[in-house]
Structures are given as structure tokens and as C-alpha cells.
Symmetry: C2
Subunit: 158 residues, 2 copies
DNA sequence: GTAATTCCTCAAGCGCACTTTAGATCAAGA
DNA sequence: TCTTGATCTAAAGTGCGCTTGAGGAATTAC
């Protein structure tokens, strides 16, 4: 059940041994110990690390990832319902990301097409003009939806 | 031509004054100085900062952003060709991002549908099995295309 | 003219995500 | 058994992207 060493995990995930130990301090994995005090991992920990790596790529901090991991059982293997719940949450985040990037690309396309990037009257590049109502800077173009806040402050998602 | 104070830029971009000074040390902006030694910015600097903010959201480091900015004229306003060139580069990056996220979402969708996240035979969550040929860990799912390398090592883009 | 505000430089500090180092212990193969 | 390699802990160091603070000078508002 818990027969993998930290080196095994490192080989299989591509993470450094030191990184796995660091993740443990953040509650991503919860290894048992053998008689000699060495960490021993189960296969569930492989999936936890994989998931954490993906979530990190999506821009989540270790603290946020750990918060979602806390809803998974610590030592027994997560079941279908466990993974479906957490997977759906992250899929929604991916959807948001794609939508934001698509909007950004469309704005850039418009600017490339009309060459307005060098013109003072461009609403996108001169936020103090007609776009000023949306707030300062290019934030309206960026969607102004910081990842770190989206979970705790869904009101910003509008 | 160069009549904006650092406070003006902060107000218009939403950046902190300290951040703008920090960006200057990285070559993102190049203010002139007035008789009293205070920085004076032109409108081109507003666009540079806006562009830097967008590029940062895309995951580029300040060093990378500055590298692309170096191809823009320092004090004269960038013309249409300048912005088209740099905009196109970043739009391609956005395309790559969207493609990677879409692939990731499709994989997650498959796992949510079949519930295989808890099964040992899942190719995505058990990279040491049939997906092992693609390298260790969930990297094949992630596309394994670190942003920081993509500019200097285009071969990885395949 | 004076007071409040903004700006200046330089150095240090911070949060995140790790890595590195040191000295010691544990595990596994010849 | 012995030796080599993996692992252990704790503390310090690293790189990025800034912020904060101190001490002082310039600018702006009244």
C-alpha cells in the first residue's frame, strides 16, 4: 500500500526529491514512515503530485492547491467521486483561462489589423480615454481576474 | 513629448510607483529627467507598461519582456510596424497557450467521464504505464513546454 | 512663503517555490 | 561485512518581482 520511496516518486513525477519534501510541508502529500524513519508513499500520492503539477501550471499557489487537496482522503486512494469533484473545479478554471486568452487575442487581432497601436485614440492602448470607465491601465483588456482571488472572491468573475 | 510624472503613469496603469521604477531597472521604460532630477515619461511609456502587464499575464518574465522591448525605439513613439511585429509574436504565444489548455481540458474531460482517475490503468494518471514513453510524470499532459524556454529553444515547441 | 505632497536614491525586506549544504543515519548489493 | 548510495533533519541560500523604509530634495497648493 505504501511501498514507494521518495526517490521512486521523484523518478515517476519528474520532481526533485527536495521539492516533494517541500510539498509535504504544504500538505500536498502525507507519507508514512518505515522503521528507519524513511518516507513511504502510496500510489495515491503519485496522483496528488501529478494533480498539483497541473494546478500549478494553471497558476494556483501551493496553498490553494493544498486547500483543495484537503477534501481528498489522506491515505486511502481517492475514489471516482473525489476526483470528479476536484477535476470539475479545475476544468472550470481552464475554461475561464481559455475565455480570457481568447478575448485578449481578439483585441490584439483588432489592433494588428487596424494599426491603431500607435494612435492616441485607440481605446485599448489608451485606457485614460474612452476605456477609462473600465478602470486604470490595460486591466480591462486583461480581464482583471487575478487567479489568487477568483476562488475567494467570485464576485470579480463577472 | 515627455510630460508625464511617475505618479501619472501609476494612476493610468494601475501599477505602483515602486513597480514602475523597478521596471526601469529592467529596461522596460526609459524616462528622461527634468531639471530637478525627476522622471518624465512620454505616452510611448504608457503603452510599454501596458504591453509588459499583458505579457506578464501570459507568463513571461521581465527579462524576456525587456528583450522584446529592446527592438522598439526607446524614445520615439513606436510605429505601426513596430507594434505589429511584437503583437504578432505575443499573439502566437496566446495561440499556443490556448491550444495547450484545450488539450488539457479534453484530457480532464475524458477522465471525468470515465472515472478512470482512480484506476491504475489510466494512461494520464499513471505515467509509468503506457504513457511512460512520453517522459516522467504528468509532463506529457502538461505539454512540457516551459514558457521561459520557448523563446530561446523553439525546438521544444513541436 | 510655507506646508503638504510627490519624488529622489539606496538598502533592506518579503512571499513564493524551491535548492543547497552539512552532518548523520539507513538500506541494499558484492 | 563492508561499502555505496539513498535518505534523514535543519538551516541557510536563490531568483523573481516587487514593497518598505530612511533620509532628503523637488514640486505643487494655498
Amino acid at each position: 500500500m505504501a511501498d514507494l520511496t521518495i526517490g521512486d516518486l521523484a523518478d515517476r513525477t519528474g520532481l526533485a526529491v527536495s521539492a516533494i519534501r517541500f510539498y509535504e510541508t504544504h500538505g500536498i502529500v502525507h507519507p508514512l514512515r518505515n522503521a528507519g524513519g524513511h518516507r513511504r508513499y502510496g500510489r495515491a500520492d503519485l496522483r496528488r503530485l501529478s494533480f498539483a503539477m497541473i494546478a500549478q501550471k494553471l497558476g494556483f499557489s501551493l496553498a490553494e492547491i493544498a486547500a483543495h487537496m484537503r477534501h481528498l482522503p489522506a491515505h486511502r486512494a481517492p475514489d471516482r467521486a473525489d476526483w470528479q469533484r476536484i477535476s470539475r473545479y479545475f476544468r472550470d478554471q481552464i475554461d475561464d483561462r481559455i475565455a480570457a486568452l481568447t478575448a485578449l487575442r481578439e483585441n490584439l487581432d483588432g489592433c494588428i489589423g487596424c494599426g491603431c497601436l500607435s494612435l492616441d485614440r485607440c481605446a485599448i492602448w489608451n485606457p485614460d480615454d474612452r476605456a477609462a470607465a473600465h478602470g486604470p491601465g490595460p486591466r480591462h483588456l486583461l480581464g482583471d481576474k487575478p487567479v489568487s482571488d477568483s476562488a475567494s472572491n467570485p464576485a470579480q468573475l463577472s
